[in-house]
């Protein structure tokens, strides 16, 4: 899932500036399950902003609404009336949700209420850890299902490095060495020969180095039908 966390309230207040009518828009997908931008968090943030603005002496009208998926126009189209009535929209979806709203409603100021952090999973309730860097060229098949791009501080393809001590990365005691994990997993699976194969330098053109990415599936596109 996409993992995010709410910006500090002071930063959000600064972003809102003089806006009088604010619509907080939550998202029912990734940011709901990481407790950052679901309906509950939208309600709490709206309450907080209403109260803070009244205490500051500049009361704002802050309401909230949550859509199932903020990153697809089908789900945000029904918000048109609510958004029209707001001075600004405060999205607590991920960065994709913010941009989807901004693209769909270009005349409206759409502001981010969250910092989108990483792609990860909950390792326990209340703790999330990064697992995927969306590099566009997955090597999990040869690394025992453990990603060195997301989990090795140096993104090494042929690790570990000398900073791995006792299974822990030199950047901090809470960070396990990804290559120690890979070694242990492959060893347990009897597939250690994989670690002996030298991985060539990674082609980063599938990642951010290639610029903004796009995937097109002609078998799914409806544009041709619409043109008929």
């Amino acid at each position: 899932m996409i993992v995010a966390e709410q910006k500090p309230l002071d930063e959000i207040k600064g972003l809102l500036g003089e806006a009088q009518t604010v619509l907080v828009v939550g998202c029912g997908t990734c940011v709901t399950v990481c407790f950052a931008g679901g309906d509950k968090e939208a309600g709490i943030l709206a309450s907080s902003l209403r109260m803070a603005s009244r205490i500051d002496g500049t009361p704002k009208d802050v309401t909230h609404i949550t859509v199932q998926r903020q990153c697809e126009v089908e789900y945000i189209d029904p918000l048109a009336d609510s958004i029209r009535q707001a001075d600004v929209v405060l999205s607590i979806g991920c960065g994709i949700g913010v941009q989807a709203l901004a693209e769909r409603y270009p005349d409206k100021v759409v502001l981010p209420g969250l910092n989108t952090s990483f792609l990860g999973l909950p390792s326990e309730q209340g703790v999330w850890e990064e697992r995927c860097a969306a590099c566009g060229s997955c090597i999990l098949g040869v690394t025992g299902g453990i990603c060195p791009i997301a989990r090795c501080a140096k993104q090494l393809l042929n690790g570990p490095c000398g900073g791995s001590q006792g299974g822990v990365c030199e950047i901090g005691h809470e960070t396990p060495c990804a290559w120690q994990l890979i070694y242990d997993r492959l060893n347990a699976q009897g597939r250690l020969h994989l670690i002996e194969e030298l991985q060539p330098a990674k082609d980063w053109s599938t990642s951010r180095d290639g610029g903004p990415r796009r995937i097109t599936r002609e078998d799914l596109r409806l544009a041709a039908e619409a043109a008929e």
Partner: protein, 146 residues
């Protein structure tokens, strides 16, 4: 903040239906007096305490809110009071960011027989709210001076 003369704080107490509510009953049985401005809201467990409940109480004008739970280790739902405690701590952080004194919110852990303590807490929180002064959200806007 200087409280206006004659200020009687409005206090919301969120209580679990086990020890917390039983302590309230015990206070009654013992003929313990406690301030009438404390409004008790009965929850199935303090594990049901939600940050939104706390904010709603303050937004609605409560001068103080407190939560009454079973003693730690004695929750009838095992960990409900611990979860409630964590949410109260979170709510305090939010209150601080909003600009309300976190001291307006508190949590207490009682057993059902602690009727006198229940009454003492009501008195203590009333005194604390009185010293903090009225919740600035009581009026539509503090600039109105209401």
């Amino acid at each position: 903040m200087n409280a206006p003369s004659g200020f009687v704080p409005e206090i919301t107490a969120l209580s679990c239906s086990y020890c917390g509510y039983m302590a309230a009953d015990t206070a009654g049985s013992l003929r313990q007096e406690y301030p009438a401005n404390v409004k008790l809201v009965r929850l199935p467990c303090t594990g049901k305490v939600d940050v939104q409940y706390v904010l709603d109480a303050f937004e609605g004008g409560a001068d103080a809110v407190y939560v009454i739970a079973c003693s730690l280790g004695n929750c009838h739902h095992v960990h409900g009071n611990e979860r409630g405690k964590a949410r109260v701590e979170r709510a305090k952080e939010i209150l601080k960011a909003i600009g309300l004194e976190p001291e307006r919110l508190e949590m207490y852990f009682l057993s059902g027989g602690m009727g006198a303590t229940f009454a003492d807490i009501a008195t203590q929180m009333t005194a604390r709210a009185a010293s903090l002064g009225p919740n600035p959200l009581k009026s539509p806007s503090p600039v109105d001076g209401g």
